[in-house]
């Protein structure tokens, strides 16, 4: 567990081992460049060989009024020398660029943690905007934390003075000064940032120089004795990782790369129809720069046109892909039904966000599982895959393309705002080892006197894919129920029954890999079942509980629909099932329905990811009834399980 050991005086610190991980949160005005600072710190951290996870948390407003509470933008990074799977629970260090940033973030800080505040911004006006009656830097309201007050604004102005910038422009370098200080604190290399600044400001070298000067000044400030004993340097050794080439990747990037890789493995061109929506737009942005990979991107007039054009492209022989977030997926729903009915391949990426309706556009949630699995008119089965992390999203995207093209079906790939925006180190995959699943278009005209059957089936129940332009295979498809085989309009009762059964059986027959146990073993007292971005906190919570001897395992689903064939047996091999979700219990419902198991929900819909401690506490409650185990410190030989209903009081 991360500790604040680096904040202790040297003699105490030496008595403690260095922390495994440190959590730093940068918070400031949305115009202060916090996401940029955080992003660069992430990069330098990854380059230092630390494992890391990040959590950007920014307001929905593009430029909220300066200094206000709702305009605060924050970026949290958890990095360290052990495996990191979450952005961390409570920060060890909070860098607050103004009173509003302090107010909205300080309560999350660990007791004894360090606050670095830019006192230059703690003016009467800004204090008023943040609704502080008195300056918190001056009273004892921050007593339970260590406080380092620096006039970052003035120090930055001094540092960039030689470059003759205006006051406003000069103050924009504040974030680089802060970054410089943070780099010093955690013994990070400045060189990659300098390189990045030079590239970013190639057309305005004076801005590059000013920003570099601010960065160096922040770093130098740390190095000089001016900080006193409050802040020491901390070097976290590199995290263990498999040997190989690494890079950082966000979910939006890895999904884009996975889609490109998938279409290449399928031997297809990709057509991406999208419409701007937070937090899904990043995929459209990313793919629009990859045209040399046979990618055509189309910013449509609305969500419906985005998917409809993708369906048209699939009909014409490309792989149609569309992407959106909950409200946009709702608009696409009728067209998803068309893709199911016409049995065309299509990948739909849903970057989930807080709902319903517009909901919380920039906050994360995983509440679109019902929408993905059930949310259509008619019996409309569709495969659903969920990515657990930015790196995992790459393989999920390839898997979505494989299923879509091999089974002639739309596939929904679920991700969320957290995965889309968060960065993590990623071992660069060796593409030469990936097995192609090349699509074979049907091009053989029928024998003399026979008719082409567009709804004939192969052994997987998939129908043939024919590119318009192919002689001898003219045919018509559409959303109206069609006759098995010929595809002609057919409303007859027996035919509809048969076609409905085929559509269901085709999806249920998809070859989904057997469900593995992430941590622990098949069979036991408790299994924690998750899906999507709750992977990190669940994994860590289970790991910690197991380290104390608790009989708990972690199972994490990638295939939400159809579910792995062994899942029912696996779940029934445990005495109890806990399902943490960032919704009100959607996977829980599906598990109960499919397997008649007593899946117990643990739910959080605050727009923030689970904290490890929350899941640990829920695990502990399963063992509460056992004497001497009030704290959840279950002896390994505990025999009985208490009521499972106690978890969600």
């Amino acid at each position: 567990m991360a500790t604040a050991a680096h904040l202790l005086p040297p003699e105490e610190a030496s008595a403690n081992p260095p922390p495994e991980a440190v959590v730093v949160r940068f918070a400031g005005d949305s115009g202060d460049g916090m996401q940029l600072t955080g992003g660069q710190f992430t990069l330098s951290t990854a380059l230092a060989g630390n494992d890391l996870a990040t959590f950007p948390d920014f307001p929905a407003e593009i430029r909220a009024p300066q200094g206000t509470l709702f305009g605060v933008s924050a970026f949290q990074i958890n990095f360290g020398s052990s495996q990191i799977e979450t952005a961390g629970d409570a920060p060890d260090v909070l860098i607050a660029m103004n009173p509003a940033a302090l107010k909205t973030n300080v309560e999350a800080l660990k007791t004894g943690g360090l606050i670095i505040a830019d006192e230059g911004e703690f003016t009467a006006r800004n204090l008023d905007k943040a609704k502080y009656a008195a300056n918190p830097l001056d009273d004892d309201s921050l007593a339970k934390w260590k406080l380092l007050r620096l006039n970052i604004s003035q120090l930055t102005l001094d540092a960039v003075k030689p470059f003759g910038l205006g006051n406003k422009e000069a103050l924009r370098c504040k974030n680089m000064w802060t970054l410089g200080l943070a780099l010093w604190m955690f013994d990070r290399d400045r060189a990659p940032i300098v390189k990045w600044l030079n590239a970013k400001f190639a057309k305005a070298p004076v801005l590059a120089e000013a920003n570099i000067a601010a960065l160096n000044a922040g770093h130098a400030y740390g190095e000089t004795a001016e900080l006193g004993g409050q802040v020491g340097r901390l070097h976290l050794p590199a995290a263990p990782a498999e040997p190989g080439l690494y890079r950082t990747v966000t979910g939006a990037e890895s999904i884009s790369l996975g889609l490109v890789a998938g279409t290449q493995l399928a031997g297809l061109r990709m057509f991406f129809g999208g419409y701007p929506i937070t937090p899904a737009s990043a995929i459209l942005h990313h793919l629009s720069g990859l045209k040399e990979y046979g990618v055509t991107t189309f910013q449509a007039e609305d969500e419906i046109a985005a998917i409809a054009s993708a369906i048209g492209a699939s009909y014409a022989g490309s792989l149609g892909v569309t992407s959106s977030s909950g409200p946009g997926i709702a608009l696409k729903t009728e067209a998803i039904g068309l893709a199911i009915m016409t049995e065309l391949p299509l990948v739909i990426v849903n970057s989930q966000r807080g709902g319903p309706s517009t909901g919380l556009p920039t906050k994360t949630e995983q509440s679109d599982l019902y929408q993905a699995v059930y949310g259509r008119n008619g019996d409309a089965p569709m495969p659903v895959i969920a990515a657990r992390s930015p790196a995992d999203a790459f393989d999920c995207a390839i898997e979505a393309v494989r299923i879509a093209t091999q089974y002639m079906t739309p596939v929904m790939l679920l991700t969320d705002g957290y995965i889309a925006n968060a960065a993590e180190p990623w071992k660069v995959p060796d593409m030469s080892t990936r097995v192609p699943f090349t699509v074979k278009f049907h091009s053989e005209p029928p024998a003399e006197g026979e008719k082409f059957m567009p709804y004939a089936r192969d052994e997987k129940l998939a129908r043939p894919w024919v590119k318009p332009g192919t002689p001898g295979l003219l045919h018509r498809i559409g959303g109206i129920e069609k006759a098995t085989g010929s595809g002609n309009i057919d409303y007859s009762p027996a035919n509809h029954q048969r076609m409905t059964d085929i559509r269901r059986d085709k999806v249920l027959g998809i070859d989904v890999p057997d469900q593995a146990v992430e941590l622990g073993a098949a069979g036991g007292k408790l299994v924690v079942v998750g899906w999507g971005s709750t992977y990190g906190p669940i994994h860590q919570a289970v790991r910690r509980a197991r380290a104390r001897g608790v009989d708990v395992s972690h199972v994490h689903l990638r295939h939400i629909w159809p579910m792995p064939k062994n899942l029912g047996t696996l779940l029934k091999s445990y005495d109890a099932i806990l399902v943490p979700e960032m919704n009100t219990g959607q996977l829980k419902t599906v598990l109960r329905d499919q397997y008649l198991v007593d899946a117990v929900p643990l739910n959080k819909v605050s727009g923030q990811p689970f904290r490890i401690a929350e899941i640990e506490a829920a695990i502990a409650k399963f063992f509460d009834g056992i004497a001497g185990n009030e704290g959840g410190e279950l002896p390994a030989d505990a025999k009985q399980l208490p009521s499972t209903q106690a978890v969600n009081p």
């Binding site: 380059l47 590199a238 003219l474």
Partner: protein, 344 residues
Amino acid sequence: MNDMTTIRKSTPKDWESDQEVRWCPGCGDYAVLKAVQRTMPEIGATPENTVFVSGIGCSSRFPYYMETYGFHTIHGRAPAVATGVKLANPELDVWIITGDGDALSIGGNHTMHLLRRNLNCQFLLFNNEIYGLTKGQYSPTSREGTRSPSTPFGSVDHPAKPCAFALGSGARFVARGIDVHKNLPNVLKAAHAHQGAAFVEIFQNCIVYNDEVFESFTAKVNAPIRQLWVEHDKPMLFDNGTKGLALDVRSLSLKVVDVEGGDWASAGVLVHDQTNRTIAHLLVEMPFGAFPMALGVLYDDPAPTFESAVVAQNNKVSEGKVADLQKLVAKGQTWMVEKQPHAI
């Protein structure tokens, strides 16, 4: 394919699918279907390179009856599906079949954007001023006062003008035809010859729910006096050459003038210029009644097409770049982890 079939010019029969046509007896759609099937051989189309895309409504059953590739999509979305088809394979000859409700109500947004982007396709809007398939509700082109199951006391909203909507959306080809009129194949040929989105409004009679709604200019007695078939470079005359359209300079609008003894020039009758956008605007805004119904190619002034611009840009930015997947996944700042660390 043997040599004989490649040389032989297709006949209208070759364009008929084996599907039984299911429109009401006497529906104007039959006439449009025949006109299209007659047009296809004349424009040198090949069935396998032709795709008919439709939305929902009576007219949208059209693709099933054409021996081509066809996609009967969902209500209002044919333009969007067609855009994907054309962008994925610009070689395909794409025809969109739609109606007044499909194209101007539920799909109005897609119609607008297809036209402004100028996707190279033919857009045939069957306008019967009624919702036929849902049993007779008034449509966005129904005239004020239309009595229908949903407007038993008469509709009160102002109708949309399809050709004015098309021009306003940036269409570079706007034409009108009539389901049973012999000129329809000529209009379709001109639409096909146009490179870009070719918008054709076809007045189509719904024999069940809106019969004879266009009688004021299609009835035998009215046709010669109320129809003005415009032709490029020809004076805009109607009523057997006794009347014409001239410019009222004071109000900057059109006026009907009498033509004596065929001397249209001295009557000030305008010569139609199909590349003149201003004339096109005046023609589509002409109120029927005081004016005749302008038919034929009202506007035809090609501009670069959407799909050609997309392809050109795709090619340009890909030039000299190699699609190396391994390089792509390793892009950005990377670092090497050398040795196997201790397990945790």
